[in-house]
Amino acid sequence: MIVADQKPFHEIKGFVEAHQNILVAGCGTCVTVCLSGGAAEARLLASGLRIAFQRENQNKTIEEDTVLRQCDEEFVLPLLQRVKEENIDAVITLACGVGVNFLADRLGHIPVFPGVNTTFYGAVMEPGLWAEMCSGCGQCITHLTGGICPIARCSKRLFNGPCGGSERGRCEVDPQNTPCVWQLILDRMKQLGRLHDLQNFIPAKDWRPALDGGVRHTVRERIYRLDYKNP
């Protein structure tokens, strides 16, 4: 899932200083799970903004709303409707960057501000701790590395073994919290009985399917542009 951290309060507040009717939009999926942008956080942020502006004697209206996903038209429609009906003049979204874009595309002259910093695709290592597991590079090579990604989990994104900063299985960038991914790959391949595969050289990666190749799209033909829906 996508992991995000809420932005510092003063930064968020700064975005909307010049606005009057503000909507804080939570997202009910990834950012809810990582406790940064669900309904509870949206309510807390809205309350915080009201308190802060009240203290400055600024009379603003701050509402909040949370939808299941801010990356689906059907789910964001009620939000768009609300913006229109309640004369909202700025939206702070606590969704990941996808939600920010998705709303911005649909809100015309109404500004949309990010309430979180979208950080990575990650997993829960233990309750309350998330770690990056994937970078969305567009061409997965984990079949070569025992299912462990050297792009997401190596500080240098090295493809063919560790660098000199790997010491006792830890990464020199943050030895305490980060294992060297090449140590992990080595151990895993040993477990799989495929250690010899690591003798094969992994060629330089084609980064075009990653961000370098421009904006990426995915089409699922089986539901894409159904004719009967568009007579």
Partner: protein, 695 residues
């Protein structure tokens, strides 16, 4: 704010309510007590049972037998809590009495003023019928007034309940013996329906040799005479035959009349005795000797007077099917020298009121149908012990409720109502894995007088709980099925936070969160931590804190509240009186600048709950948790501490000083500790100018 304890049709009942023959909202009144709302507790009691004062003293409390807390340590002392409520709401109770005008234009006669008869009268009066109760004695109450000894049930307690019923407009004809002073037929002619609630007012006698001797008393007659101030002269050694509750009552009564040695002889073994175990225990404490597994053979007499009793060994009381079929070893006998013998081996109805009527009686029993409560004659119903056989007061009350339903249906439709056999779904046992994680708290028992003091007279032997005791005991209630529930599956992201914070291992996630009501311990931690704000609590739903605060503060908007204005969240489980549980007046809030919000464990406050008061105008917020390790819920303290820290950090980012939100713990009693904490928080963090105004 809280949608509490509303039992909806079809919901499984908490075990206590399911076990109660009248399904009293037991959980509801325990909760109302813990919130200091004794009046609401009384309302709940009276909703189900017109005899709370009686039942607060003598009910055999099946609720406690089934209480789910027994899996943790011991059941909640529910009967004593009930008694606490009636003892502490007398004025309110008198004020709430209301005359009900008969609007149905129909009259119902009830024969007998015991708990069953008066319950029918109560219920039918509520439905708008004109009800008239016929009682052969000069005093209302039936067995409650005449057979239950005063040391268990003082008359004034019975009177409290009866006065309520009479205040509704129920008419009575006391000292009126149906069949003698007025015929049943005449009553039938003058009324649209008749209910026979005549109880089992006669003792069964034993046809054994010598049973006609002077000094052999039927048990009920004995108790009746004592209750009415005419105790028979007794010698120094008295034997009670029987092992039921009436036998114990008779034995303990004899002891109080100065009899030096009181014996009870019964067929049953100690475990088989039908009397309640606590009654047997108390009787033993009072010096009563119980001879188990002995049956009566003959009363020995000298000059026509009782001189002793010959007993024979009882080898078995019940047959393999559990039916009463005693067997004896006639060769093993014993003789006991006694001056009197009191027979309490069973009861039967005095059916003189139905003599020379059309009502069918077979082998000395009134013919009636337990499903329709009807007799052989249309419009004549029966309830209470005459219908059900010997039972407890609360069973008689339940039977009265059913009879009122049957009569109402008959008077509206002319038809008999077939009342279904009650099958009440209950929550079942608390699973051991949950129970083992709940905090143990010692049950408070009723305080009884010293046995030597008890037998001196007929004074009540049991002291009621004081307020502190009642509040402590009420909070032992597990508040079954008032815990967390997912408001909508749509809101749930399946994030597992609930499962990760639940101290009882109850919350699980399978696509969406589930908190099984029968397991949830209502600590509220999952609701406080849910990032989707999707978990509601049936009791004290903090999701609506803002609305609640708004409601409290709305009238205050127009006036200036004393500053700095403090919102104090306090754990209501720490109180030892209702001083701080009662709702505050607006004047008090304005004058003190302190708004207290009582929360059943402050661990359920979410970060939003901690921040929102500032939005509503608070200058400071203090969370007062219970004493060190005093929390009912494991882990609650730690999570709350972390949440407070999170909210403090957030408030600091907003620009509020860190001290705006404080976390404190009760020291000693809440009443002594809290005012000091409130003032401290107001002073400590107040800027100089505000400190001035506080002086």
């Amino acid at each position: 704010m809280d949608n509490r304890s509303v039992i909806l049709p079809g919901d499984p009942l908490p075990n206590c309510s399911a076990a109660c023959p009248v399904h009293t909202d037991t959980r509801g009144y325990a909760e109302a007590i813990s919130e200091g709302n004794y009046e609401k507790a009384l309302d709940l009691l009276l909703q189900a049972n017109p005899f709370p004062s009686v039942c607060g003293r003598i009910c055999h409390h099946p609720c406690e037998k089934e209480c789910r807390r027994k899996e943790v340590d011991a059941p909640v002392s529910l009967r004593m809590l009930k008694r606490f409520v009636v003892e502490n709401t007398r004025e309110y109770r008198r004020a709430r009495r209301q005359r009900i005008e008969p609007t149905q234009g129909k009259k119902v006669a009830i024969i007998g003023s015991g708990p069953a008869g008066l319950t029918v009268a109560h219920d039918l009066a509520l439905l708008g019928y004109h009800t008239i109760v016929f009682e052969q004695d000069s005093q209302l109450g039936g067995m409650l007034a005449h057979a239950i000894p005063r040391y268990r049930l003082p008359l004034h307690a019975l009177r409290e309940d009866i006065d309520d019923i009479l205040a509704m407009g129920v008419e009575t004809r006391t000292a009126c013996r149906v069949g003698v002073d007025i015929s049943l037929e005449e009553i039938r002619k003058k009324h649209d329906a008749v209910v026979l609630a005549i109880g089992l007012s006669e003792s069964v006698t034993l046809p054994i040799p010598g049973s006609e001797s002077e000094g052999v008393f039927p048990g009920i007659t004995f108790l009746w005479d004592v209750a009415n101030g005419h105790p028979p002269p007794l010698g120094d050694r008295v034997l009670i035959i029987g092992g039921g509750n009436v036998a114990v009552d008779a034995a303990r009564t004899a002891r109080r009349l100065g009899v030096g040695q009181v014996f009870m002889a019964c067929l049953e073994t100690p475990e088989e005795m039908p009397a309640w175990q606590w009654e047997i225990q108390e009787a033993r404490e009072e010096g009563i000797e119980i001879l188990n597994s002995w049956g009566p053979k003959a009363v020995l007499s000298r000059g026509g007077k009782v001189a002793g009793m010959e007993l024979k060994r009882c080898t078995r009381v019940f047959d393999d099917h559990g039916r009463f079929a005693p067997q004896y070893d006639e060769a093993r006998t014993m003789t006991l020298d006694v001056d009197q013998v009191i027979m309490t081996i069973g009861q039967r109805a005095d059916l003189s009121c139905v003599k020379e009527t059309e009502l069918a009686v077979e082998r000395g029993r009134l013919m009636c149908d337990s499903h329709t409560l009807s007799t052989s004659e249309p419009g004549v119903f029966a309830c209470g012990e005459v219908l059900t056989g010997p039972g407890s007061a609360i069973h008689a009350i339940a039977s009265g409720h059913r009879a009122a339903q049957a009569v109402h249906h008959y008077l509206q439709t002319g038809e008999r109502l077939v009342l279904p056999r009650e099958d009440v779904p209950s929550l079942g046992l608390l699973p051991q894995r949950v129970a083992s994680l709940a905090r143990k708290m010692t049950r408070r028992e009723a305080a009884l007088l010293d046995p030597r003091e008890r037998i001196g007279d007929f004074s009540e032997i049991e002291s009621p709980f004081n307020e502190r005791e009642a509040l402590e005991e009420a909070r032992r209630c597990l508040a079954c099925a008032t815990g967390a529930r997912l408001e909508s599956s749509q809101a749930c992201a399946g994030c597992l936070t609930c499962a990760r914070v639940c101290p009882f291992g109850v919350a699980t996630v399978d696509r969406t969160a589930a908190m099984p009501a029968e397991e949830c311990q209502a600590c509220g931690l999952c609701a406080a931590e849910c990032p989707a704000a999707g978990i509601a609590l049936k009791r004290f739903a903090t999701n609506q804190m803002k609305q609640t605060l708004g409601e409290i503060l709305a009238p205050a908007r127009a006036v200036k509240i004393w500053t700095p204005f403090l919102v104090a969240y306090c754990c209501l489980y720490e109180t030892t009186s209702r001083k701080y549980l009662k709702p505050q007046s607006l004047e008090e809030i304005e004058g003190s600048g302190i708004l207290r919000i009582m929360v059943p464990c402050v661990g359920r406050l979410s970060s939003l709950d901690l921040v929102e008061p500032f939005e509503m105008g608070a200058d400071r917020v203090v969370v007062i948790a219970c004493k060190e390790e005093g929390c009912l819920y494991m882990g609650s303290e730690e999570l709350l501490g972390r949440r407070v820290a999170h909210a403090q950090k957030f408030l600091k980012e907003i620009g509020l000083e860190k001290a705006s939100l404080q976390f404190r713990q009760t020291r000693g009693s809440a009443e002594a500790s809290w005012p000091a904490i409130w003032k401290e928080v107001q002073h400590e963090t107040a800027p100089e100018s505000e400190k001035e105004s506080l002086k």
